[in-house]
Symmetry: D2
Subunit: 371 residues, 4 copies
């Protein structure tokens, strides 16, 4: 007899939708999952697009109506990669239908709605997960283990950043990214460094941010040179104080001309330090004070750093971005099977969103804002 | 109507077998393949192992007899990841059955047998491919494009290496790797840097190598401390002359204590230069002589470097080792559908093996050996 | 006939005093100076220490009384490397005596005194220079040239830091560094990144800082375990807005466990970007957007980057820290001979100090402070 | 009473002459030397050039006749930076005059003459030193200490290189560098990596090299486009076996387009490894196998690595190329005062030259050559 199955319903087939599909298809060949994911239904904006995507991505059925998917008996997990504005209605429906919900970040367009979603899921006892995929990296898990075990002593300082360059050109047009609701560099990628900082160092207590729109106008769309005002930040620098007392700074920047993926940080402790950048995601820099031999050690990912070994039995064979999504999905399946949330769930995503909004408020008020 | 299908038969379910299975499962969600691979039959050393592996890796059927797989009507492509000694018999049978053959490196245990395999495949008009997966990297394709287009001028020098540390400990026991037939660092990983050098710079004309066994004995197996003599090289340094006149050096080393994947090279030309290491497989260093601004530029992989864009529409999202295998399989499927060999085929693998043996002969004779 | 001479009087013979002496001894062999520096008088805390230091460092005379040095007819330039508290009285006396004044940073213990010193020097038409030596680096001069020439377009963002680890251990005792007047990480090394930011991007308009004392007590001295409270910052993170509108962040940190000299920054523009760290002071990272070939180019210091060529006619031969001081002294001698201030003078040092104090005020008030 | 003095006579005032002069001027302010060097006489090709150079570099006297310098009573150390062809006659005269001899590399134009010079010096009991300055680097001394102490276990492999690009352009004209006697990349810079390999791993036993002239002709001089044949190598790759049994490879290359100072090596041992490049001369990469934490540690130069502390009491303040020459001169002065040769002396320089010639012979004969 084969394994039991878990039915997957995927809403959306863009960048992240494809990424989810790939992960669900690969996971059981790499991880020892309790039940095999079965790609049941793909929903997209209309029937035709959904049908084509289902065929490409290997789903059995398709629909132009996400409600059909959500209420499909064969669907156990609803994966949401639709535009941000649809996250809430789909999630509420899925929660109501008793499905496990796996949602891309940001959870919603405002922290208030995100809180409602969280409360609904918790009230219903639903397993949830939000796609902060960078945390799945074995090197990030290793960093957390090193911090938690006390190998770097008591943490004293943090300096983090998520900087990319996809909006550095003033002629990149408006899109959902620049929408006033939930848009801007801070919300879009600042959320990654905020969630990672929380994962490694715990919650923040106070923030003070300086948001800035570098390019005041952008073309209304790809099809016109007519320009409209930009109301979201291109770059935000923030001061942060963690509840633990650790202080630091944090940057979100989608106009960082030279950077494609500088999700990076340095964490300093009383006995050691760690540094990481997603630009070299298979490495972690670790400092421990050997007299006359001290310096950052470049730890390369390998089987000693779970779950790297699921992908390859030998060190030095890099994991890639899509592999992080496979890890996420493996953890999702385990949580679903066990009925216990394991990673960034709705509540965590709400906390991240609340932090983003606190930073925006601090910018507007030019005051520190407590969380 | 769905896509047509290509039946896959996989022999072997170790590290590389899992890697093949994963690639066949993922490829159609990432690449626009003409026909969908269907995981038909998995063969392994006995029925039980084969059955378990088939279930884990998602194959429909299993068998303890590879001949059954090879002759299965539903199998169009035979993928060989069995121990090296079985490559030849399986391949000959598959060629006879008219199947496309996809074989892991080395093609066989001697160049002579590899040549027979090559001639058999060519006589039968069979599409073949051999798993020199590191060449599938978009950054390696980019390097070749830069060289071919003349951007670095006429090539003048080469310095290459494949260095890892999986055998640096004298207590790592004997295995197929240390078998006198086809074993040793030069054959095992030297073949990667040889094939990559050929891919980038063309065939070699003359070689002179110095092979060395660092640890003269190793435990007979994991289960004993009894030791037996090692008859293969742990480390080989070689001088090479290419047919183009370019000279250089090359190293194969599985006892390189600090290295997990230093498959690296620098290629110098009259106008520029390139450098690469698999340790940072998403980067290519490119030098062009801007006055006062010259230096190595760290090019990061992105959609400008096909087929990166199949995996992700944005730059900075790293590819991993397993993704290289997906690219390989996509190219295999295209070759199968088109009936035309596209990449390192049996003949190329034979040439690599012939070069390995020429190096071994040059060591034994202490003379330069012409190819 | 030989060159004419410039008489040097040096006050202080510690780390910086030795560094000054070395620079004055070397400069005429490396730079084409108009007049040869002659090491006339060395002053230190008493006659004996001064005599020993004079002999070691090659000064003709010595004195335990700096006033004697300042009023010596043979002294043309007074170099001040005494403790911070003595900078003002020595400088005032030197100004009165009409001497060129070359003072280590910080200029004084408060911005108010620094302003008085500046006004006195300006009123007397005195040439002054302050030792912000890191700016003398050919790579920093190159960075400024690239920015000024518009090669990276309009500057959009800044992220800077000076992080070292000399105080990360809570058992490093109190010293002049932790003195409430002029002490703390922000004043001690934050001043370097502030002055460098000003050199590259112009003056700041507003700041908001978060200062923090990591180790609340330290031993009173090397000779006791008795501890006293620390009243200065170990680590400061700040938000900054430049007059140009550029925004960014800045860190000063002497408890950065893993860092010995991370005086580093990244500057982003609309067409390119630059990055630098003093940890690799002979390199500048420069990004310009070549399609498919973009990435940071590692420019290595060479004769194309003046005044590197004074030290070596070939590229790749690194300059060291002490060489930066030789450049500083060469520029000082040129300024003295020409009668025109050339680099960071008293006024610039005052502006840096004023910025430090504005940051401290912003921390105390938890408000943005305008400069 | 001041220190006693050591009279310095310098022959030649080009790149290396200036470098010597600077080192002799600086050394007593940085190192605790027993006697102060006094810059007595500078000799160059004629009286006028010598006079100008003496004034610039701070020598008391000058002469157009090196014999005058060598026999000057006030000269204790004869420093030879004249063209290679003059090394022997000047050295023989200086030995005869009982002077300590400090000579730039290569010691002479042939190993045979170098041996005569060595025997003459040894017979006369003369202290000698040859300018293999890169060995003076505290990080190289640290590397040797780590190797000698057994921290990386038994050494198993070596891979070294000295690659620069000063001759990569075919229009760089002939000069002393391309002279058939003593010229070529192998002799010019290969000697550096050979001497460093010997310093770290001891003498070589056998070599096999492949020398190559990339640009068959070059302009006869800077003043003409007329071209003449090149008879020396632009690039040499060699296999080496050390007397200890260690094997490896070595490259000398002055046409390495992208490299300005890649004097680099990796040394592998049974328990650890080391890697270095002069491109980042203040760093040493050290691997030791901490389980799950292993990787190359980037050790940064600091006071823990003598004689770094002579230049600066704090880590992170880089040494530069000229500082290496100061260390060399400090060791020379100590050797002179103590009457005992301390570093690469004439015999060592002869051994290096003999190795160069053995490589050239092995290229000509296409055979391994024993040393």
């Amino acid at each position: 007899m084969g394994k039991s199955e878990i039915g997957i319903g995927l809403v959306g087939s863009g960048f992240m939708g494809r990424c989810h599909a790939n992960a669900f298809r690969s996971v059981s060949g790499l991880f020892d999952v309790q039940a095999e994911p079965r790609l049941r239904v793909l929903a997209d904006i209309n029937d035709e697009i959904a049908r084509d995507a289902a065929q490409t991505l290997g789903f059995e059925q398709s629909t132009g109506d996400w409600a059909t998917l959500v209420n499909d008996k064969g669907v156990d997990i609803v994966a949401i990669t639709a535009p941000n504005i649809f996250h809430a209605p789909i999630a509420f429906a899925a929660i109501k239908a008793g499905k496990t919900v796996y949602c891309e970040k940001p959870l919603s367009t405002t922290a208030a709605i995100a809180l409602e979603m969280t409360q609904a899921a918790e009230a219903a006892g639903i397993v949830t997960m939000v796609g902060f995929n960078f945390q799945r990296n074995p090197m990030i898990k290793l960093a957390r283990e090193i911090i938690t075990s006390g190998e770097i002593g008591e943490v004293t300082g943090f300096r983090g950043r998520h900087a990319e360059n996809y909006m550095f050109d003033p002629n990149v047009p408006h899109s959902f990214r620049t929408d006033i609701q939930g848009g801007g560099a801070l919300a879009d990628i600042g959320s990654h460094i905020i969630s990672m900082a929380r994962y490694l160092l715990g919650p923040m207590a106070e923030v003070q941010a300086d948001c800035r729109t570098i390019h005041p106008t952008r073309p209304k769309s790809h099809r016109t040179t007519e320009r409209a005002a930009v109301e979201v930040d291109d770059m935000t620098h923030a001061l942060v104080r963690f509840q633990s007392g650790v202080s630091g700074s944090l940057e979100a920047n989608w106009a960082a001309t030279a950077r494609t993926m500088d999700l990076s940080w340095e964490i300093t402790g009383t006995k050691g330090a760690l540094a990481f950048t997603q630009e070299r995601m298979n490495e972690l820099a670790f400092w421990s004070g050997q007299p006359g031999r001290s310096g950052y050690t470049k730890i390369e990912a390998g089987p000693a750093h779970p779950p790297y070994g699921q992908f390859c039995p030998a060190p030095g064979h890099h994991l890639g971005f899509n592999d992080l999504k496979v890890i996420e999905v493996a953890e999702l399946l385990a949580a679903h099977s066990g009925g216990v949330t394991c990673g960034p769930d709705f509540r965590e995503a709400y906390e991240v969103q609340r932090t983003v909004e606190a930073m925006q408020q601090s910018h507007a008020s030019r005051q520190w804002v407590c969380l």
